[in-house]
């Protein structure tokens, strides 16, 4: 999960130390580009394709994590 947090820090343009599940996405650069970047990140790390609308509906980073299915 550390790679996911590091990737999200890049996407949200914040320091990796600031990334935590409770992070409120709207407080940072959570725009359409961030959403497509998150789709690519999760595909790269977890081999899963997240839905853009489901991502757009996320409020916190924990909501994004909840969309990622654990590896079988």
């Amino acid at each position: 999960m550390q790679e996911f947090f590091d990737g999200m820090a890049d996407i949200l343009e914040i320091d990796a130390a600031q990334v935590a599940p409770a992070l409120v996405l709207a407080d940072y650069a959570w725009d359409s580009l961030a959403i497509i970047s998150t789709i690519a990140l999760v595909d790269d790390l977890f081999d899963q394709m997240l839905d853009g609308q489901a991502l757009a509906a996320c409020t916190t980073l924990a909501d994004v994590q909840a969309l990622i299915k654990p590896k079988a």
Partner: protein, 341 residues
């Protein structure tokens, strides 16, 4: 058995870009929450070229063809087929290819047609050219790719304005190789994605009207009407990350080759973000992966030939190198091939 050459090969490529330019500084002044540096980091694009008012895709194609003839000392009298790939024809009819036959001074025994595809279009044109030549129907096929997406983009839509640039390329495919120099081809289509990259109005299904000109703001703060280009970025990314690795694997398997046999991988130059994600996912070594987008932008069906022309010019691509070409996008439509350059 005759030893005469019977295979098609891509022999020459040239490109033409309109004069006016749109820089990241200019975009950052309009869209203030993105800096010029951020636009460059994400898209890999520093400058896009824009067609002037009254300057059409066929004008750009004309100049690309003239450049091809001049730079490569090509006798236009020998061209016996013209294929124009564009989504911005001069008229509903006739085909812009017919207008260009006359304007370019090509023979009246030259076949000519338009076809409407976007980012997969160049590889589709190569497939048609190879078919015409290797079936013995034609000997020299001129491929023109040209588009002016800037005329379809709402000025207040950052999602597409940062990416697309206008431009054209001219490529010549001729009978002349003793060994196969083009192919195999993998082609594909999934029309279920038609609505994710679309200009809804202006065709026969939905005529332009006062109603289609009404602009609306989307959830990301971008404005557009039904007369404008719409792109659902998330859907396009999902499609691309699925279709491109699959198509590339199918192409290599069909050709009986591995990535180690390929000198250059040249994908449709959508944007740096998309290309980086694909390169990471497919694990393509950076030294094989051509990115030529910084001073051009996404020119739709012209990105692959423009990348070939630039990489040849810089010396990166040498005569005889084997390139994997793969286009993907609007339709959805995709196509891949191997080309001896």
């Amino acid at each position: 058995m005759s030893a005469s050459p019977r295979h098609a090969q891509l022999t020459a490529v040239a490109s033409h870009l309109p004069e006016a330019m749109l820089t990241n500084d200019a975009l950052a002044q309009e869209f203030t929450d993105w800096s010029a540096q951020k636009i460059l980091d994400k898209t890999g694009i520093a400058v896009r070229h824009l067609a002037a008012a009254g300057e059409t895709a066929s004008d750009l194609a004309f100049h690309a063809a003239e450049k091809l003839f001049a730079e490569h000392d090509i006798d236009r009298a020998g061209i016996d087929f013209l294929i124009l790939c564009t989504q911005a024809p001069d008229h509903l009819l006739p085909s812009s290819a017919c207008v260009l036959q006359q304007r370019l001074g090509l023979s009246t025994s030259c076949g000519a047609l338009d076809f409407n595809l976007g980012c997969s279009g160049f590889v589709y044109a190569l497939a048609m050219a190879q078919g015409l030549i290797e079936a013995g129907i034609r000997r020299q096929v001129l491929i023109l790719t040209a588009d002016t997406y800037s005329k379809l983009i709402n000025p207040r839509d950052r999602s597409v304005r940062t990416l697309f640039g206008d431009g054209a390329a001219a490529s010549l495919v001729t009978l002349g190789a003793a060994e196969p120099a083009l192919g195999p081809f993998v082609l594909g289509t999934d029309g279920s994605g038609a609505g994710n990259l679309i200009v809804p109005a202006g065709g026969m299904r939905l005529a332009r009207s006062a109603a289609t000109a009404v602009e609306r703001e989307d959830a990301s703060g971008n404005w557009r009407s039904d007369n404008d280009l719409f792109m659902d970025g998330a859907e396009i990314v999902q499609f691309t990350l699925g279709a491109v690795p699959r198509t590339m694997q199918e192409l290599l398997t069909t050709a009986g080759k591995t990535l180690a046999d390929i000198d250059h991988v040249i994908f449709h130059q959508a944007n740096k973000f998309m290309l980086d994600a694909l390169r990471r996912k497919i694990k393509i070594p950076e030294e094989k992966f051509v990115i030529e987008i910084d001073t051009v932008g996404n020119t739709v069906s012209s990105t692959i030939p423009i990348a070939i022309a630039r990489a040849r010019q810089s010396g990166r691509i040498r005569r005889g190198d084997l390139a994997l070409l793969l286009g993907f996008g609007v339709g959805y439509s995709w196509a891949g091939t191997l080309a001896r350059l």
